[in-house]
């Protein structure tokens, strides 16, 4: 049985008259890597702030490890590691001093643990430089190290791939996968780079204008999205509109794409054959998560 680490129940948040979160609910279980996806201004960061108690919840509940954030903040936050917005650090202190300051606020962090996360961060000798001399990517690495410092079982990362080089992204991906698998950590990760998430998330949650549009396993989502799109390759694609009533899209002079129900595929082929089209290939079209997402949200608009 998997354990629910984070439960968001019917979260609502208003800023003045504008309601930025409308009934947001989702769960993160142990071992989950949940991709939290949405365009700018959709409410991703706000949701994360509500979870972490940085902003007041207007209605709804956040339960972390069985503790309500509103009532039992100290216990709820005890095993959470987080980066919100930017990996903000004290610029005039060195990386190590920043980590030491955080370590002081927990009972169970010793010097070995600090060295351990420094090793994980891959910052090497630069850890003793002032943070003001770090690049964004380096600060991101330090931020992740800081988030992991208290050995959390819930990790919340807001756009952690920002500023990371491809090597850094790969390291992060491997690290997160390992943490989820071996330490059964629940990870909530928001990002704009959807292709990034696709490769290692097992769940996805799409949010737009404060509403959760989709919340499901990533494989299921992909399957559902691509069910009805087919690419058909033929000798020609001319005059198709005379015989096909459905909407279709011509890709090139030999190929077109059509969105129809699986059951209607034999009928379509029959029709094409009757009209002397020579069919070379009928393929189910695999779309990326990014495309699925854009299809769902109808483009990258903020209202």
């Amino acid at each position: 049985m998997t354990k629910k680490i984070l439960e968001c129940q019917h979260l609502r948040k208003r800023f003045g008259k504008k309601e930025v979160l409308k009934d947001v609910s989702f769960d993160v279980e142990a071992g989950d890597i949940l991709g939290f996806i949405g365009p700018n201004g959709a409410g991703k960061t706000t949701t994360i702030k509500l979870i972490l108690g940085l902003q007041k919840i207007n209605s709804g509940n956040v339960i972390i490890n069985g503790y309500d954030v509103k009532k039992d903040f100290v216990k709820a936050i005890q095993k959470v590691g987080a980066i919100v917005e930017n990996p903000d650090m004290y610029m005039y202190l060195s990386g190590r001093e920043n980590l030491k300051m955080i370590a002081r606020l927990y009972h169970n962090i010793d010097k070995e643990r600090i060295d351990e996360v420094i090793k994980l961060s891959g910052l090497g000798n630069r850890i003793d430089d002032k943070v003001s001399k770090y690049s964004l990517g380096m600060r991101q690495r330090l931020g992740i190290a800081a988030a992991l410092l208290p050995k959390p079982n819930l990790l919340i990362l807001d756009e952690p791939t920002n500023g990371l080089d491809p090597e850094g992204i790969k390291t992060l991906r491997d690290l997160l996968t390992k943490l989820a698998k071996e330490e059964h950590m629940g990870i909530l990760i928001s990002s704009h780079n959807l292709l990034e998430l696709e490769s290692f998330c097992n769940k996805v949650c799409i949010i737009q204008n404060g509403v959760i549009l989709e919340s499901s396993a990533i494989s299921e989502l992909k399957k559902r999205m691509s069910d009805s799109v087919y690419v058909i390759e033929m000798d020609r694609v001319s005059d198709l509109y005379k015989i096909i009533d459905d909407k279709f899209e011509v890709i090139n002079k030999n190929m077109f794409r059509i969105k129809i129900n699986r059951d209607r595929v034999p009928k379509l082929i029959e029709k094409l054959v009757q009209n002397d089209y020579q069919i070379y290939q009928v393929a189910q079209f695999q779309i990326s998560l990014e495309e699925a997402f854009l299809e769902k949200t109808g483009g990258n608009t903020i209202d």
Binding site: T45, K49, L52, G53, L54, Q55, K56, F73, V74, K75, I77, Q78, V80, A82, V84, E85, N86, D88, M89, Y90, M91, Y92, L93, E97, M101, I102, R104, L105, Y106, A146
Partner: protein, 472 residues
């Protein structure tokens, strides 16, 4: 909680502005001590110039001026015999006038009192003998003899008699050193007190003190006058007895007794920077999020910051004193620090003495409420409005407005006593001085200060508890 505070201390100490402020305070200390040292040179310059008085020869027909000119001429004649630095010159310059005047006015035919002339003549000859024999004690003894006869007819000569006796007793050779100055001021204050007692037809006791009833009868100006002379009398008496030089400007001791007036601006600047940036910096750099996602309630986080602020106030005052101690010892001296501090209390009409250390400790306690309230104000603004510059500016504005309000003291309006700036200086209560406003009591001031502090802290805590951390 302790760990939160350790973090706060690290944040303050590691900031560049902290080091810069310490450097500025050190620079200020050097400047202040150099100025104090130059005060002494300045004093000498003034004394030197005061010797070159111009003679007024025009009014030959004025009797008074005629006598004065003759006296001056005679004095110059006498002075020629002695070295400029010798005690004789000093004596002739300052003490001989009385005798000379009587003799000369008689010689010129203006004074007919033969008895006074004869007795004066005898004394004058004795004094001249003392001067010539280089025996200053003989001069004092002659004066004592003279005053002893005078006091029978005019009791006010008691003051001069006592003065001369002290001079003999304490071995104070005529000159312009501090013991002479102490003695002169003692005699001056005694004379003034004597005159006040004559005016009110009351008797001074042996310590030149008037009874309470007489003081109560006085109007405000005379009462202030009386207390000023009492302060001068008691202070100089103490200084004479213990052979102390309270006047020397260029001494580490003097800078320390003026510590808060010289350094309060530096101290509040440093404290406003700390207090104003404590919360607002966390907001503006986004590190507030780093701080709030820890297993501590917001109350504890803010409280730890506030307690750290109180510690840093004490630290700032302490380090400033240390800087003054070091800089003052380099530029001025270190020996004067062993001198006690005397504080006259007009309420008890007595002089209290403190060691310099306990005086500084007590003064710090007196000024602490003011600094704490200003720092809390700055802290509150930083917490509520996220703006460091606003928080620091508000602190300064309050600091200056608090001072400006003192112009209303004279108006005697009743509402003035509720203004915190009249209540936040507890120095008068600690040293038993008159309160800043008439009618204020210690308990009332404590209450007002606590109300202000409480209001500001509750506001800061309530706002912070419900604050949404916005995006930056």
């Amino acid at each position: 909680m302790i760990n939160l505070m350790i973090n706060e201390i690290v944040k303050i100490v590691k900031k560049k502005s902290f080091i810069i402020m310490l450097c500025i305070i050190t620079g200020w200390a050097f400047l202040t001590n150099f100025i104090y040292r130059s005060f002494d040179d300045l004093g000498e310059m003034i004394e030197e110039t005061s010797f070159t008085e111009s003679e007024d020869e025009d009014a030959e027909d004025d009797i008074y001026l005629k006598i004065e000119n003759a006296v001056t001429k005679e004095k110059k004649q006498l002075e020629k015999k002695y070295d400029e630095e010798a005690w004789q010159s000093y004596y002739i310059d300052n003490y001989l006038d009385e005798y000379l005047r009587t003799i000369i006015s008689h010689d010129l035919g203006y004074d007919e009192d033969e008895d006074a002339y004869e007795s004066n003549k005898v004394i004058y000859e004795e004094i001249l003998k003392g001067l010539e024999d280089d025996d200053w004690r003989h001069v004092v003894k002659t004066e004592i003899k003279h005053y002893e006869t005078q006091v029978k007819s005019d009791p006010s000569f008691k003051i001069d008699l006592e003065g001369a006796k002290i001079r003999l007793d304490k071995d104070i050779i005529y000159g312009d050193d501090y013991q002479n100055a102490n003695l002169e001021r003692l005699i001056d204050s005694q004379t003034s007190l004597w005159n006040i007692s004559l005016y009110y037809k009351a008797d001074l006791d042996d310590d030149y003190k008037l009874d309470k009833e007489t003081i109560d009868k006085m109007d405000e100006v005379n009462e202030t006058d009386y207390h000023n002379h009492r302060e001068q009398y008691l202070t100089n008496k103490y200084a004479l007895e213990h052979n102390l030089d309270f006047d020397k400007m260029g001494s580490n001791y003097t800078v320390f007794t003026q510590f808060f007036s010289e350094y309060s601006l530096m101290i509040v600047i440093m404290i406003f920077i700390i207090a104003g940036s404590m919360m607002s910096n966390e907001y503006s750099t986004g590190t507030i999020k780093l701080l709030l996602v820890r297993p501590y309630t917001r109350m504890k986080i803010l409280l730890s910051k506030y307690l750290t602020l109180i510690l840093s106030i004490l630290f700032t005052i302490g380090i400033t004193m240390l800087i003054q101690l070091i800089v003052g010892s380099i530029i001025l001296d270190i020996k004067s620090l062993s001198m006690p501090v005397t504080v006259y209390s007009p309420i008890t009409d007595t002089l209290n003495t403190y060691s310099l250390v306990s005086y500084l400790g007590l003064s710090t306690m007196g000024i602490l409420p003011a600094i704490l309230i200003l720092a809390t104000l700055s802290f509150m603004f930083g917490t509520i409005f996220n703006s460091k510059s606003l928080a620091i500016t508000v602190g300064f504005v309050a600091y200056f407005i608090g001072n400006i309000f003192s112009v209303f003291i004279e108006s005697g309006k009743a509402w003035l006593k509720y203004i915190v700036s009249f209540n936040w200086d507890w120095t008068p209560y600690i040293f038993n001085l008159n309160p800043t406003l008439k009618g204020l009591t210690f308990n009332f001031s404590v209450l007002i200060c606590l109300l202000w502090l409480g209001a500001m802290l509750v506001t800061a805590f309530v706002v912070f508890k419900h604050k949404d951390i916005n995006n930056i």
